[in-house]
């Protein structure tokens, strides 16, 4: 296949579609035209346009060959030109793929005040992180390496990543590739369907990777892939006329401008080699026409307003991540499969050999997993044959990824579903490769700060094994700093430290629970997540503060609960962002009067109390605003409590344990009274809470709430034991058994010590039980059981001690492992026997029996 040289001139003229000869020109979608277009792309004397798909080994191989053949003056690959400064590191022989170029941009949007955080304005900037992952077989990387080998100049061509145009459509972190267009293309989907391929990835393998094409045929196929995607998404059929989204138009304008600038330089130097431009096929579908047609572009007007803050660097990447990208239609799946294909480049039958390796490893993996019917050696042979037969059936030149997967499924699955085969396959096809940065590659500012901080805190950075870190945060200032550092990293999503045990603030028990225990491990994931966190700031402290401000902004935008704001305060304190605390407390104070929900207020009170108890290691002074919040919460609780009467059902119908509103109300009461009774750090007006509680009691008919209110009164000495006993007996005697058990449940929820401290209370309970018949007992049992289920084992023993003398006999033996079902069955059976005896005229036997009730 010789080069036509300049004989035909540059066939891609400004007039648009390709003309392939003197005949009436074929339509652009006809094979002849597509082939002619490919030839034209490749044989330009000034510019060679090479369409690719990211991470395609076939494209990589052919672009490499082409560069060696054409010996270009320059190689330009798709990507923001600011990345030019990492090219040297990328092609450094000390670098091992996969690596990713990571960039972040912060665009402060016009208004939004001056600060990033503070006030209710929140965070008024758009932050964006992008990845540009590369593996050994990425055509972009291969083109750069080959370009370097033939002495070409190297560069990137695309819209710069800091350009505000990017921000219109995108936010957050994402990959800088165009794969989603292929997945979304209706044309490709239809074609896949026609060709018997399950999706566009299989179609790609079928038409390109497994097709064993020469360079021109490959470029024709890849270029058609791009054209189809373009046509499919716009409905236009003329590649020159195909319009794309705004961002695409702007990006392609930038690519063209970049190529033109390099072409001008080339002309000045009088170089003869062409410029090879390597871009995604989607863009190559229009670039030559735009290059030929556009007048030299006027410089884009500089974006007005603030300059974006931006930065980029190289990070280690992993196959895991790369494969996960395919889940978001942002990459080709199964990197380890394509790596095999690439590594076997010189093998006479790379795909067959790669299939062999994968099937062998999957079989070994399954065998190691044990289980019956693991693949035997003949099974492996069969799997090979199966893959080969599938290849033939599907009419491919070489075995494709899906053929290998199908063969493994057929031949290795020995039960329903083949789940183990699927996961072994997925693991092997994804691979666990992790990249290595070349010596001297700059770390991103955030990663560098991470290194510095970790070193100064004497955190051993050991890649081999996880480090266990115990922090005495009450005693040691250094340990507190480490704790803040680790919490902060977690808050911005950096994968480094994992909290194994946190101190229990409430525990009055020993000091041993006051330690924080972490395991820390540096991994590729740390590097990647550090890069991702770069968009929040260039030091760890800055990133943590900005992220916290961002979270506050998001919370405030959606009617935050008091508890959620307090947990943000807690996070701020833990991460050591002390100056963020006051603004959060201030916005909480502004909201408390409107908090509609007693549950939220009660939980916030408890949270505030915990925070105060733990304030020393968290840095007390920063929490100075907390008492004012606590007092306001108390006031709000007092306002909400009487109004909660309506939320409890009027009847006594709701059974215990049903999570009924009155159960929640009792819990809220307990919490508020508990904090009010114990939090000496708050100066509270006691009478307000009691007044509220009394009003609630007067307004509600719920026995559970009455039980709770009486319990609180007794506990706080507002009624004495005798008064409590009278009230309790009254409820227990009610005809509706649920009134009694509801009351008891409420009482025990707030003051279970009443059971053994109030003389006669247990007696009253036991009297009631003695006076009812077995049928009624069976009916009341579930309610009673759940009331007593609240007790701890030692409390149960205590109750039994008091109960024994009351029922005659000594302390009653307790049958703990008797389930409720069994107990009920026993009682029911006894009752049935008794009925039969009476029916049979043998009622007298009953009276004679030593124990009339049924006891299992």
């Amino acid at each position: 296949m010789g080069c036509a040289g300049g004989a035909g001139g540059h066939p891609l003229t400004a007039s648009g579609p390709v003309h392939a000869g003197p005949d009436p020109s074929p339509k652009p979608w006809e094979p002849k035209a597509l082939r002619a277009r490919a030839r034209a792309l490749l044989e330009g004397a000034e510019v060679v346009w090479f369409p690719i798909r990211h991470h395609s080994p076939a494209c990589a191989r052919h672009v490499e060959q082409l560069i060696h053949r054409r010996r270009p003056w320059a190689v330009l690959v798709e990507g923001p030109p600011s990345f030019d400064d990492v090219i040297g590191h990328l092609i450094d022989p000390g670098a091992a793929m996969p690596l990713a170029i990571h960039a972040h941009v912060v665009n402060t949007l016009g208004d939004g005040g001056d600060g990033d955080r503070g006030g209710d304005g929140g965070e008024a900037a758009r932050r964006r992180g992008v990845y540009f992952p590369l593996c050994d077989y990425s055509p972009e990387l291969v083109a750069l390496r080959a370009g370097a080998a033939v002495g070409a100049r190297l560069g990137f061509a695309d819209l710069d990543y800091a350009d505000p145009a990017w921000l219109d459509g995108t936010d957050g972190a994402h990959a800088l590739v165009d794969e989603h267009r292929y997945a979304a293309s209706t044309a490709l989907t239809a074609l896949a369907d026609r060709m018997g391929c399950r999706d566009h990835n299989e179609l790609w393998d079928h038409l390109v990777e497994s097709a064993e094409l020469d360079t021109e045929a490959l470029v024709a196929a890849v270029s058609t892939y791009g054209l189809l995607t373009r046509w499919g998404s716009t409905g236009a059929v003329d590649p020159g006329a195909a319009a794309a989204g705004d961002l695409d138009t702007v990006r392609e304008g930038a690519m063209v401008a970049r190529v033109r600038a390099w072409a001008a330089e080339r002309a000045e130097t009088g170089a003869t080699g062409p410029i090879v431009v390597v871009t995604g096929a989607y863009h190559t579908a229009v670039l030559p026409e735009r290059y030929a047609a556009d007048p030299p572009a006027a410089a884009r007007p500089a974006p007005g307003g603030r300059r974006p803050v931006a930065g980029h660097g190289l990070v280690r990447y992993s196959f895991d991540r790369l494969d996960a990208l395919s889940g978001y239609a942002a990459g080709m799946p199964s990197p380890a499969w394509y790596q095999e294909l690439w590594d076997l480049g010189d093998h006479p039958r790379p795909a067959a050999e790669a299939a062999h390796c994968i099937l062998r490893d999957v079989a070994a993996d399954l065998r190691a997993g044990g289980g019956d019917g693991q693949p035997s050696t003949p099974g492996l042979v069969d799997a090979h044959a199966q893959a080969e037969l599938l290849r033939r059936l599907r009419q491919r030149s070489a075995v494709a990824r899906t053929d290998v997967a199908d063969a493994a499924l057929s031949c290795f699955a020995r039960g329903e579903d083949g789940h183990d085969v699927r996961s072994a396959l997925a693991a092997r096809m994804t691979g666990d490769r992790v990249g290595r940065l070349p010596p001297g590659a700059p770390r991103s500012p955030l990663a560098a700060d991470f290194d510095r901080r970790a070193a100064s805190l004497r955190l051993r950075i050991d890649r081999a094994s996880p480090l266990r870190v115990e922090l005495a945060i009450h005693r040691s200032e250094r340990d507190r700093l480490v704790s803040r550092f680790l919490h902060g990293l977690g808050s911005v999503g950096v994968a480094y430290g994992q909290l194994i045990q946190s101190p229990r603030w409430t525990s009055a028990l020993g000091r041993d629970l006051t330690r924080e225990i972490w395991t820390c491990q540096l991994s590729a994931e740390t590097d990647i997540t550090l890069a991702e966190a770069s968009m929040w700031g260039s030091t760890v402290a800055e990133a943590v503060g900005v992220k916290l401000g961002h979270r506050l902004g998001e919370l405030l935008a959606h009617q935050p609960t008091a508890v959620s704001l307090l947990s943000l305060v807690q996070d701020a304190a833990r991460c050591g962002v002390h100056d963020a605390i006051d603004p959060i407390l201030a916005s909480l104070r502004r909201r408390i009067a409107d908090v509609p929900d007693l549950t939220d207020v009660a939980a916030a009170l408890v949270e505030a109390d915990l925070l105060w108890t733990a304030r020393r290691p968290l840095d007390g002074p920063a929490l100075a605003g907390l008492p004012a919040v606590g007092e306001q919460l108390h006031l709000r609780a007092c306002a909400l409590i009487p109004a909660s009467a309506g939320t409890a059902p009027v009847g006594a119908s709701a059974g215990p344990g049903s999570g009924a509103p009155d159960e929640q109300l009792v819990e809220n009461l307990r919490r508020v009274h508990h904090v009010a009774g114990t939090a000496t750090w708050l100066s509270l007006d006691d009478s307000l809470l009691w007044d509220a509680t009394d009003r609630l009691a007067a307004a509600t008919a719920s026995p559970r709430v009455h039980g709770a209110v009486d319990g609180l009164r007794w506990h706080n000495g507002r009624v004495d034991a005798a008064q409590l006993l009278t009230r309790a007996s009254g409820h227990l005697a009610a005809a509706d058994g649920a009134v009694g058990s509801g009351y008891l449940a409420g009482l025990l929820a707030v003051a279970r010590e009443a059971l053994w401290e109030v003389d006669g209370l247990l007696g009253a309970v036991s009297d009631v039980l003695g006076s009812i018949d077995d049928g009624e007992f069976v009916r009341r049992l579930p309610g009673l059981r759940s009331v007593f289920a609240l007790l701890t084992p030692s409390e149960t023993d205590r109750v039994a001690e008091h109960l024994g003398p009351l029922t005659g006999g000594g302390a009653a033996p307790i049958v703990r492992d008797l389930g409720e079902q069994a107990l009920l069955a026993n009682v029911e059976a006894s009752a049935a026997v008794a009925r039969r005896l009476v029916d049979d005229g043998l009622g007298a036997w009953l009276a004679a029996a030593p124990d009339g009730g049924g006891r299992g």
């Binding site: 019917g373 099974g379 499924l409 039960g415």
Partner: protein
């Protein structure tokens, strides 16, 4: 029950006697035209003993518009490829899956297209014997003439071995373990000896012979198969169709085919099919389109049931109603499908009607109306 039919691999369209009153013709007769067209167009090499090349068999299953061949199996084309390739190999094919996922249909279609006959079938039950699979004797002749070819009554497996065709073993896991294990020798040695016939008693399988077995996952018998037998099969799991659009397409085309066979040329209206697909999906998944949780009936609600309900509802409309299919007929059939063995299912269906269907309009109104016919369920 065991049936055999002399295979006629070379001329599928004329095999057997035409029997217009048979309830359901075997696939090779129902689709005789399609098979003939595929055969005529087939230029590709075929494995020995195969009637069609693998690609044409594939077309028979997944359709080929250019040849007027309809799609018969929906939702998993790679599965079809895997089945074909397995049948070319020396392993048997075992299709496992939930009830009603078209395992039997696949096995019938594969046998019809590969061997030209799908009737060499062993129906697995606890009572299936080795004799029924392989061969038995005509005792009158045996006594009169002694053991002879004439006195031999070949079973489906022997027939398939001699003809070099596919034998189908339905519900393999329901057969006794010893009977299952008789297949091991067959699948590995590919021959049987009939000792009574002496030297003539050696029957080697001709090329093209293989086994397609099916097993239902609700029978829970797959685990108990001996590992020696498991190793001789490739397992393929047939899954329920997950894409509602595809299921809809399938229901429409299969119901139309059944109706045409029944001599009716009415198709179900689109909104009624929509209703049906939606209702089946909601009852299967336990959530309504609006996200309301529904108590799932325990009855099997596979695509097979959806097709059957559509077909029966169309017959109901044609013969008992005014010919117009509405949600009402669908509802009646749904009741019949759901109220099978679990009495609680009636309550579940009723609450689905009350909670989900009642709020909807259009044909859903008619569906709700069948509530009366549910009778009183506590």
């Amino acid at each position: 029950m065991t049936t055999t039919d002399p295979p006629a691999p070379s001329s599928p369209s004329t095999s057997g006697q035409p029997a217009a009153d048979e309830v359901r013709l075997p696939a090779e007769r129902r689709f005789a035209d399609e098979l003939a067209r595929l055969l005529a167009a087939d230029r590709e090499p075929r494995p020995e003993g195969w009637l069609l090349s693998p690609r044409r068999v594939r077309s028979f299953l997944v359709g080929d518009p250019a040849l007027g061949v309809t799609r018969k199996f929906y939702g998993d084309d790679p599965l079809v490829d895997r089945c074909l390739v397995t049948l070319m190999s020396n392993r048997g094919l075992l299709l496992v899956g939930e009830p009603g996922t078209a395992k039997s249909m696949l096995s019938e279609l594969l046998a019809a297209a590969i061997s030209g006959t799908s009737t060499a079938t062993v129906q697995g039950t606890a009572g299936t014997t080795e004799d029924q699979m392989l061969y038995g004797w005509n005792y009158a002749l045996l006594i009169a003439e002694g053991p002879s070819e004439r006195a031999l009554v070949p079973g489906p497996v022997l027939t398939a071995m001699r003809a070099g065709s596919i034998v189908r073993v339905e519900e393999i896991t329901r057969m006794q373990a010893e009977v299952q294990d008789a297949l091991i020798a067959l699948l590995s040695d590919k021959h049987v000896s009939i000792p009574q016939l002496g030297d003539d008693g050696y029957v080697g399988a001709r090329r093209g012979f293989n086994v397609v077995a099916t097993a239902n996952l609700r029978d829970r018998g797959v685990h108990e198969m001996s590992s020696a037998l498991k190793r001789r099969f490739n397992f393929e799991t047939v899954r329920p169709i997950r894409d509602p659009a595809l299921e809809r397409q399938l229901i429409e085309s299969q119901a139309a085919a059944l109706l045409a066979e029944a001599g009716l040329d009415v198709g179900p209206p689109a909104d009624v099919v929509d209703l049906l697909v939606t209702a089946f999906n909601e009852l299967r998944s336990g959530t309504s389109a609006e996200g309301v949780a529904i108590d799932r009936p325990s009855a099997v609600l596979s695509t097979a049931e959806a097709v059957a309900v559509t077909y029966a509802a169309c017959l109901d409309a044609a013969y008992l109603g005014d010919g117009r299919l509405t949600g009402r007929q669908v509802g009646r059939q749904l009741i019949g499908t759901i109220l099978k063995d679990n009495p609680d299912d009636a309550g579940r269906l009723r609450s689905y009607l009350d909670v989900v269907v009642k709020r909807r309009s259009g044909p859903w109104r008619d569906l709700w109306a069948v509530r009366e016919e549910l009778g009183d369920t506590r």
